[in-house]
């Protein structure tokens, strides 16, 4: 572990946190974020109107960072811009672990004063050897330790996915939307203007972090492409790294410039860099979460031959198109599999060549015996590397509403199959006309560690990306 990584580890796993400049007008958002934090929280606020509200939350308040007793591992600073340099100077003297500067209005405003103040705090931090996150950022989220940057974020249990983001919104959304779909964050950071710490530093850290098994990131531009590529290369050789790049279109590049003043990279050059590094590329929040789900929950495989289970004829055709369009194969099964299938498969209104049009045979998922048989056959079939199953709800929603317990045995069989199978398994649950039933099915599957996707295309794309990564790691592509 390098010295910087040790220092980042202290900031990402703080024992003591100070919030500077939280106020009522923000609903004491930052202190609320820290309400789940198990360590010691301090507040720094000089405004006499704000102090009673802070003390009412049971948080001790001080007039200066320097007055806080003992060491401080992480400081979240939300003061107005003109005050920022003084707080930074205090943090340098206090030798705090790191400061995340939520304060904005710096170089991104392209104003003389903003640029000058940014230079001032950069110089203070550099001369004082202070780890500065941001400015213009949301700082760190550590789910296990309950250090958050949104009061809606879950806390208390451990996660396995790290997220590094040039945007605060994407950082928060990844943790919130991901959480609903089973993506638990280990540590995330929104890094804003990156005057001291930049994307490669966080990548180096999360690559080293034992708790983080998959890294995802949202990036708009890099200052030093070669350094970024070096860190990305090293990280992707240890664990999957999913990179969602914003601003790859012409107008998007213009928007990126206004947002983080990052310069555009030609899409072809960016694509080359990502391929060389072995990063998984995505284009949206949904795709990023989907790719992460496939990497976390589906077993690693380098084979791309799918066994597909759909509920009806129409669905069995389009699920096949979706997977083949993504470059995955849908092969014929072995003679042994056909032999077994012919013994029980209902071919009136169904077929089993692969895809398996199986709704009739498995009672839309509610005939546990036949469902189990299908799984066992695909598990043993040497032509199949991975299995995707449509969990169709449109036709079963009414039955499920009347008898929610029906779902139990299907969920049990799917979960047991995923647990036992050596092949990756994913479920695809299309949006239906009864969203509450769908949402229930989805969350029940997610709880049992099954990756669920909102459509055939999304599932196929996510699995293709995961397979692409495992092939890269195996030196196959």
């Amino acid at each position: 572990m390098t010295d910087l990584i040790k220092r980042l580890d202290r900031a990402f796993n703080p024992k003591t946190v100070a919030v500077v400049g939280d106020k009522r007008a923000m609903g004491y958002m930052w202190l609320n974020c820290m309400s789940t934090f198990g360590g010691k929280v301090y507040s720094v606020q000089v405004d006499p109107d704000e102090i009673p509200g802070i003390e009412a939350m049971g948080v001790p308040n001080y007039k200066s960072v320097l007055e806080i007793p003992g060491e401080i591992d992480y400081v979240l600073c939300a003061v107005p811009r003109p005050v920022a340099p003084r707080i930074i100077a205090d943090c340098v003297r206090k030798k705090v672990g790191a400061v995340a500067l939520f304060t904005s209005g710096f170089a991104e405003t392209e104003t003389e004063e903003g640029i000058a103040t940014q230079e001032q705090i950069t110089q203070l931090a550099r001369e004082g050897d202070l780890l500065l996150i941001g400015p213009n950022c949301m700082g760190v989220y550590n789910r296990r330790r309950g250090v958050r940057h949104s009061p809606d974020q879950p806390a208390g249990d451990a996660g396995s996915v790290g997220f590094i983001s040039q945007s605060g919104t994407h950082c928060i959304n990844f943790s919130l939307v991901g959480a609903v779909q089973g993506v638990k964050c280990s540590k995330t950071v929104s890094f804003g203007n990156a005057v001291i710490l930049d994307a490669p530093d966080y990548l180096d850290y999360l690559a080293e972090d034992a708790e983080t098994e998959v890294i995802a990131m949202y990036i708009e531009g890099v200052k030093d492409g070669r350094r970024f590529l070096g860190s990305l290369r090293r990280a992707a050789r240890r664990k999957p790294v999913v990179v969602w790049k914003g601003g790859l279109t012409r107008a998007g590049a213009r928007a990126v410039y206004s947002h983080t003043a990052s310069l555009a990279t030609a899409p072809a050059v960016w694509d080359a860099a990502m391929r060389q590094a072995g990063a998984v590329q995505t284009d949206s929040l949904d795709e990023t979460i989907d790719a992460v789900k496939a990497l976390v929950y589906a077993r690693p495989t380098t084979g791309a031959r799918m066994g597909l289970i759909a509920m009806t004829g129409g669905q069995s055709v389009v699920i096949t198109d979706s997977f083949e369009r993504e470059g995955l194969e849908v092969p014929l099964l072995t003679a042994a599999s056909y032999e077994k299938l012919s013994g029980f498969f209902n071919i009136i209104g169904g077929s089993y060549r692969n895809p398996l049009d199986a709704g009739g045979t498995i009672g839309m998922g509610f005939l546990p015996g036949n469902l189990q048989k299908l799984f066992d056959i695909l598990e043993e079939d040497g032509n199949v590397d991975a299995v995707a199953m449509e969990v169709g709800a449109s036709f079963i929603a009414r039955r499920l509403r009347q008898n929610p317990a029906l779902l139990d045995s299907m969920v049990d069989i799917l979960a047991a199959h995923r647990e036992r199978s050596a092949k990756p398994f994913i479920a695809i649950c299309h949006p239906g006309h009864v969203e509450d039933v769908m949402a229930d099915i989805r969350s029940r599957l997610v709880e049992r560690g099954i990756a669920v996707f909102g459509g055939f295309e999304a599932g196929a794309r996510a699995l293709r990306r995961a397979i692409g990564y495992w092939r890269f790691r195996a030196g196959l592509d």
């Binding site: 200052k223 492409g225 070669r226 990279t265 050059v269 060389q276 592509d477």
Partner: protein, 230 residues
Amino acid sequence: MSVAEIIDSAKSQGRTVLTEIESKEVLGEAGIPVAHAQLARTAKEAAQAAAGLGWPAVLKVVSPDVTHKSDVGGVRLGLGSAEEVETAFGEMVAAVKERQPDASIEGVAVQKMAPQGTEVIIGMSKDPQFGPVLMFGLGGILVEVLKDVAFRIVPLEPRDARQMVREIKGFPVLQGVRGQDPADLEALEKLILKLSEFIEAHPEIEELDLNPVFAYKDGCLAVDARIVVA
């Protein structure tokens, strides 16, 4: 002359663009297969050089001012004798002077005409964030119109060279279509990796073009080359 000496000598003459002869010398030194070219300042010298290098001969104008040699009549192919070379020399100098009167002509590059292979191009340009980037594509119309090219950032690993050659849409052309010989992919990959090493070792190189490279059943050969230094 060493690479550094050639670059220094060009710079001392106020040039950042190396001539074809200089470029090839530098690349040959680095172990990259190039069609060797020799400078001739007179028609006589050209004929002698051709006789030494072997027939048929190719003449190309050497001028720091000419970027697209064939556009100004500065390329003559398939010359089979000393007489033909001498005549072609005179005609070429006249043609270039007529079409680009301000061009200073140092002479002509004489080389043995390489047998036709599958044309590919390999180039390097610098990206402001990622530094030197290598480009690979099929020669001619495919690269110009369809932009069917693959990029990789220097330094490349063997995997990168392998993928690069295979990811262009025109890859089947390299595998051999309609009875054409397949191209020696390994040789192309080796050339790409050598070029990557060479570029890494010489950060002063700003731009580089091997256009065309002939890919054969066995081996490959850069027929024309152009290097721009900082």
